[in-house]
Amino acid sequence: MSAPPVMVAMSGGVDSSVAAALLLEEGREVVGVTLRLWGGESDSGCCAVSDVDDARRVCDTLGIEHHVFNLGDDFDRHVVGPYVAAHAAGLTPNPCIECNRHVKFDRLLYRARALGFDRLATGHHARVSLRSDGTRRIARPADSAKDQSYVLHMLGQDQLSGLELPVGDLTKDEVRQRAAFLGLRTAGKPDSQDVCFITREHGRGDFLSRRIPLTPGLVVDATGAEVGRVEAIELVTVGQRRGMELAGATAPRYAVAVDMPTATVTVGSADDLLVDATPVGGFSWADGPVSGPVRVQVSAHGQAVEAELVGDSVRWAAPHRRVAPGQSVVFYEGDEVLGGATAI
């Protein structure tokens, strides 16, 4: 039996370009697809016309079909809308994770199946490990500096069974070398940064201010005494240092808590940020719920540390910085992802 055909989600970046090339080298039938998600301003990321052009020209070079799917309605509904709503509620959302959860590995994955492609590949730096019991998990990639297992934590068995991550075994340097060797125009293209629907020029504050009212807030210390002001309480993230410094103070200050109803940020020292446990909710699991000792990672490029998952609480083995509410908390066993949740 020949290898199954595969649809490759191509962002116009080097990783997905090489992913398509590697699958083609396996002798597979490969079709490239670029998602059109955002009709507004964009620096780059997934949605700029120039990125669609890059993906299409890479497919031309490889000699494979390229299609563009407009999933803009889904992106608005599941990513941009919730992003804005989360900020309005004082949370710190992660739109890339919601895009993976609702758009790439839901809408696109199931559309691929409807179109006869039971396999979907992306250029993420991560691996899909197959365990002896036949279940699959997302696992850390060859290049730990580019590890994207954190943003794929929501994938369950149904999605993992059809997922291929061809560049997970390569370092980023190897990816670029392969792209250059193949003459792909994306070989030297910089990595995309930040949120694709927010431009560097105008920024997050401008984006949000066009959609929700931004509320000026008070900055207080642990005693409740006012020590400063912020322009927009919606833009403050727990753990943030910038903008929290006090005139004349020597020790660094951080946002320790954000209270939306009173538009108040409480600041404190680095020690004040430490907690013994973090409440979480909205779990997703690779293969059923897990509890007890796990390693826990709270940012895309953070370290996983020891903790115990007890009910809806992550109990840290050693005091841990507060996790901004809205951020993803991902559970690992060794190099494998067990699942994830959202900090409350």
Binding site: T34, R36, Y110, A114
Partner: protein
């Protein structure tokens, strides 16, 4: 089997057109604005084409302004008329973006249409009465997505009654292959056409002026086309446009009758084979024979087009944006087609070369593809 069913996007050039163009690519270098023999030969070639295009509309050949295509002709009509006459432009909501955008940019008025996408004559009369300085009314002869035909001569009569200072433009790009333009565009002062929608090449179109209509140039420079459109004429493409105009005039009636039968068979077949399928255009609304337009609730046309392509069928849905992604159709929105139905729309469009076998293939493939997508719907 391959079935090219996207002639409303572009038709193949007819063999006679290609043969007529070839010498003007390699053998004859002349610039029609020059004075030596090669230049005069080129001038003669484009003037023969001018005669052929003028004949489509019973127009004076001297009032045929060659352009790079339909978009430029539409832009020249709107901006060129406002440039000479000032005032306000008015059009319907289902116009091609080549008309809509210049009208909007100039501060013009976009009017609602009826459920067939035809300009609402009552709303037009009201607008002409309410706005003192309407100088241009643009109403397309046939719509590019649905093929629906507007009553251009009725519009012209209405404009003459309510706004005698206004001129009427019609974008006849999608009508040329199917309708006798002289009749269908009667009363319009400016008519846009383009070659590649009726067996000519891409890159040559025309704005035809009638009844003394004038336009200020949009492209400025050497003063070609009687100071109305500067730039060296695209001689090979214009030659091809002329040949295509002559050929389409000769066999249009026969082709339209044959294709109309095919189109009706295709639509009826799809409607009977696909549950809940419906014609996008309400029954009784006049349209060209060249387009079958159907909505399949519960699916997305983007996915359908992917499956059709894998079975050799080239078709389209709404217009495509710069990235190639499908954008929601402003035409269907103006017709009041709800978005859920519009996202499952399919346009299959025909040309003089379309065969029975291509339609048979579509009838075999489309229902199965819709059924597959509905099975996988979540």
């Amino acid at each position: 089997m391959e079935a090219y069913l996207d002639h409303a996007a572009s038709t193949p050039a007819r063999p006679e057109v290609v043969a007529a163009m070839l010498p003007w690519l390699a053998e004859h270098p002349g610039n029609p604005s020059g004075s030596h023999r090669p230049a005069r030969e080129a001038r003669r070639a484009i003037d023969d084409a001018r005669d052929a295009v003028a004949a489509l509309l019973d127009a004076d050949p001297g009032d045929v302004v060659f352009t790079s295509g339909g978009t430029e002709a539409d832009n020249l009509a709107v901006d060129g008329v406002l440039g000479v006459r000032g005032g306000v432009a008015v059009c319907g909501a289902t116009e091609h973006p080549a008309v809509l955008d210049p009208v909007r940019l100039s501060g013009g008025v976009v009017l609602p249409t009826d459920a067939g996408g035809r300009i609402d004559l009552g709303a037009l009369a009201d607008a002409l009465d309410a706005i003192a300085d309407v100088r241009l009314v643009s109403v397309m002869t046939a719509n590019n997505e649905t093929g629906v035909v507007n009553p251009v001569s009725e519009v012209a009569a209405l404009v003459a009654g309510h706004a005698p200072d206004a001129v009427v433009h019609t974008d006849a790009v999608q009508a040329t292959a199917w309708l006798d333009l002289a009749g269908a565009c009667r009363g319009a002062h400016l008519v846009s056409i383009t070659g590649h929608k009726f067996g000519g090449p891409k890159g040559a179109g025309a704005l035809v002026l009638r009844d003394g209509a004038t336009v200020a140039p949009v492209l400025r420079g050497g003063g070609q086309e009687r100071e109305r459109r500067s730039g060296t004429q695209n001689v090979p493409a214009i030659v091809g446009l002329g040949v295509a105009a002559t050929l389409v005039a000769a066999d249009r009636e026969v082709t339209a009758a044959r294709i109309g039968t095919l189109r009706d068979r295709l639509e009826a077949g799809l409607l009977s084979a696909v549950p809940d399928a419906r014609r996008t255009v309400p029954d009784g609304v006049p349209r060209t024979p060249g387009i079958a337009h159907v909505c399949f609730p519960g699916i997305e046309s983007e996915a359908l087009l992917f499956l059709l392509e894998r079975d050799g069928i080239s078709a389209s849905a709404a217009s495509s944006c710069a990235s190639g992604a499908q954008e929601p159709s402003h035409v269907l929105a103006a017709m009041g087609v709800d978005r859920a139905a519009a996202v499952g729309s399919l346009r299959l469009s025909f040309g003089h070369a379309t065969t029975d076998a291509e339609v048979d293939h579509a009838l075999a493939v489309v229902p199965a593809a819709v059924a597959r997508l509905r099975e996988h719907a979540r």
